[in-house]
């Protein structure tokens, strides 16, 4: 019996063993743990703590704010850029896209270090701005929410552009030509046809950027010490570092993060469906 089972399913067993042990079971365990106390009894207390203790509430709020603002700004800049790309010559377009592809890999810890070196309190540009008396740059605070927004927007832009580009290919040139022949200018075309057709792609990209920002760890880790709590840092701190380790609370925080992510994906998918017209 068992041998028969193995010989029939031998091709899929390795996959399910790996995924089972290192994806399904850990996540399932995390879900269960989030409802257990230190004595392994069922409790809602972990979630009560998450949603009542100021440090976690502030962390959730900060993370949501940072992800939302950076995704929104990143998307807006990416959108304008994507609209400009078709007007470039083929050669320039190739150069620009290669550059974006390269920059989309400039993320995580090296990026955080670069920002620290340049915009940190003794960063190159900051010292330079002080030297020449460029006040508004000299007063730039990297280790603050606006500072974090700047870094996050920076890594959202290339990603946003690369994610939006396929959507742009879906806006057919003939629609634009047909609109011009019906006496519409290019603004009227985008308001009435272009943006409605582009909306699914914009929403999808927004949710990808949001998830990307929400879970960003390296940047937050390096640039934020303790004054600005953020969700991923709070979660990781439950498992590492000098503080007393509290995996149950960490699990509850993780599940909260996961739920926020799924909620945003669900909302954008719902909106996407409303604006999707079966294309011809």
């Amino acid at each position: 019996m068992i041998r028969k089972f193995f010989s029939k399913y031998k091709m899929i067993i390795p996959f399910f063993i790996i995924v089972g042990f290192f994806e399904i079971v850990p996540i399932g365990n995390m879900l269960i743990q989030s409802f257990l106390n230190a004595e392994l009894r069922f409790t809602f207390n972990n979630y009560v703590t998450v949603f009542t203790k100021p440090v976690y509430l502030v962390a959730i709020r900060n993370s949501l704010f940072l992800s939302f603002i950076s995704s929104f700004l990143g998307l807006a800049i990416a959108f304008l850029t994507v609209l400009s790309i078709p007007l470039l010559s083929a050669r320039l377009r190739g150069v620009f896209l290669a550059m974006l592809n390269m920059l989309s890999n400039f993320a995580g810890l090296p990026l955080a270090f670069a920002f620290m070196i340049i915009f940190g309190s003794s960063g190159v540009l900051i010292l330079l701005a002080e030297e020449i008396g460029f006040e508004s740059l000299a007063n730039f605070q990297l280790y603050s929410i606006p500072g974090l927004v700047a870094v996050y927007v920076y890594f959202q832009i290339p990603l946003g552009i690369l994610l939006l580009l396929p959507g742009l290919a879906g806006i057919k040139k003939e629609w634009q030509e047909a609109a011009y022949l019906l006496k519409a200018n290019s603004f009227q075309f985008w308001i009435r046809v272009g943006i409605p057709m582009f909306l699914p792609s914009l929403l999808g990209t927004f949710s990808m950027l949001f998830a990307n920002a929400l879970a960003a760890y390296a940047t937050a880790y390096l640039l934020v010490v303790t004054n600005i709590p953020l969700l991923p840092i709070q979660i990781a701190n439950m498992y590492i570092g000098d503080l007393r380790q509290r995996p149950e609370l960490g699990s509850a925080l993780s599940i909260t993060l996961l739920l926020i992510m799924l909620l945003v994906i669900w909302i954008t998918n719902f909106l996407k469906k409303r604006f999707e017209y079966r294309r011809v």
Binding site: E174, A178, A179, L181, K183, Q188, V193, R278, V280
Partner: protein
């Protein structure tokens, strides 16, 4: 000056001379076809008239106005594209109303005109559908209505039927012709299908690699091609060089080529007289086409086809050698090559 006048139009893309010195005068209210194989520049010419492409050299006049540098929006031309290009996010009604809304017409005017158009193209019952839920033929009718509602001075149709199946194509050809006559709108129709051009046009312009090869009414184009290209592209003409033709018939004619259509070749009969060429040939291939049979005949170096109606006796057999005849006035001389 004619209603639509193209003078010395040239279009050059890099090294490609896509349009070469095009001169055309088009009278008002007619349906004109631009016919030619793909890549011959006919669509580019249409796009130049619409303003979607700039011309490299030359002038376009419409109704005594120089259009050459006028922006697309101010040209008063309507266009229907091969792939319909309806706005997928708008209903049939809103697609047709699009231009009027841009022109900021009153709501009642829009409703009245759109309903009139829906009636004209027979789609009133589908006005609230989105384009994705229409058949290809229906989409093409919406595209036509969307262009016509603007009352353009010229209607441009860029291979509008080539994505449709044969039966639907015939129906829409008739419908386009009916609407065009009813509205008396000057229409330019681009197609690569010669029978479509024959069926629909008042005048045909035949294009070959960026040049106008010949022009005329469908009957003129069909019955008396002026060039080798025209003879080959239209009516399946058999083309023989004068040398081979004289070997076949024993008569030498002064021409580069001699052209005759497959249906003028007959089986020889005793009452045929001096007005015919006679020769014997062997049957090389037999292809049954339904109402007629096409034979490929072989006589020395001459190889050509012959169409015979299916009801005229028993078919010939491959390898059979018979006497054939062609009436002398059915053989056209072509001087250019």
């Amino acid at each position: 000056m004619a209603f639509l006048e193209l003078r010395g139009l040239n279009k050059i893309y890099g090294k490609n001379h896509v349009l070469q010195d095009i001169n055309i005068s088009i009278p008002e209210g007619k349906l004109i076809s631009f016919l030619g194989p793909s890549g011959c520049g006919k669509s580019t010419l249409l796009r130049c008239i619409a303003g979607l492409e700039t011309v490299s050299d030359g002038k376009i006049y419409l109704d005594n106005k120089d259009l050459t540098d006028v922006p697309i929006q101010k040209r008063d031309v309507g266009m229907v594209f091969q792939n319909y290009s309806l706005f997928p996010n708008l209903t049939v009604f809103d697609n047709i109303a699009f231009g009027l809304k841009i022109r900021k017409e009153a709501k009642e005017v829009i409703a009245r005109d759109v309903n009139e158009m829906l009636d004209l193209v027979g789609l009133t019952h589908k006005k609230d559908r989105f384009p994705a839920f229409l058949s290809g033929g229906e989409q093409q009718r919406v595209a036509l209505a969307r262009a016509l509602i603007m009352k353009p001075k010229v209607l441009l149709l860029d291979e509008p039927l080539s994505a449709l199946d044969a039966q639907l194509r015939k129906n829409l050809q008739n419908e386009i012709r009916r609407i065009q006559r009813q509205l008396r709108i000057t229409t330019l129709f681009v197609t690569h299908d010669q029978s479509e051009a024959m069926a629909i046009s008042d005048i045909i312009y035949l294009f070959n690699i960026g040049k106008i090869e010949s022009s005329g009414s469908p009957i003129e184009i069909y019955m008396s091609p002026k060039t080798e290209f025209a003879a080959r592209f239209i009516g399946n003409y058999n083309l023989l060089t004068s040398e081979i033709f004289s070997e076949l018939t024993g008569c030498r004619l002064e021409a580069a080529y001699l052209a005759f259509r497959p249906e003028v070749v007959k089986l020889s009969e005793p009452e045929f007289g001096d007005d015919s060429y006679f020769f014997s040939a062997a049957v090389k291939e037999v292809n049954i086409h339904g109402n007629f049979i096409r034979y490929v005949l072989l006589a020395g170096k001459a190889e050509f086809s012959m169409d015979i109606l299916s009801d005229l006796g028993d078919p010939l057999l491959i390898g059979e050698t018979r006497q054939f005849a062609i009436r002398k006035d059915c053989v056209l001389t072509i001087h250019e090559s």
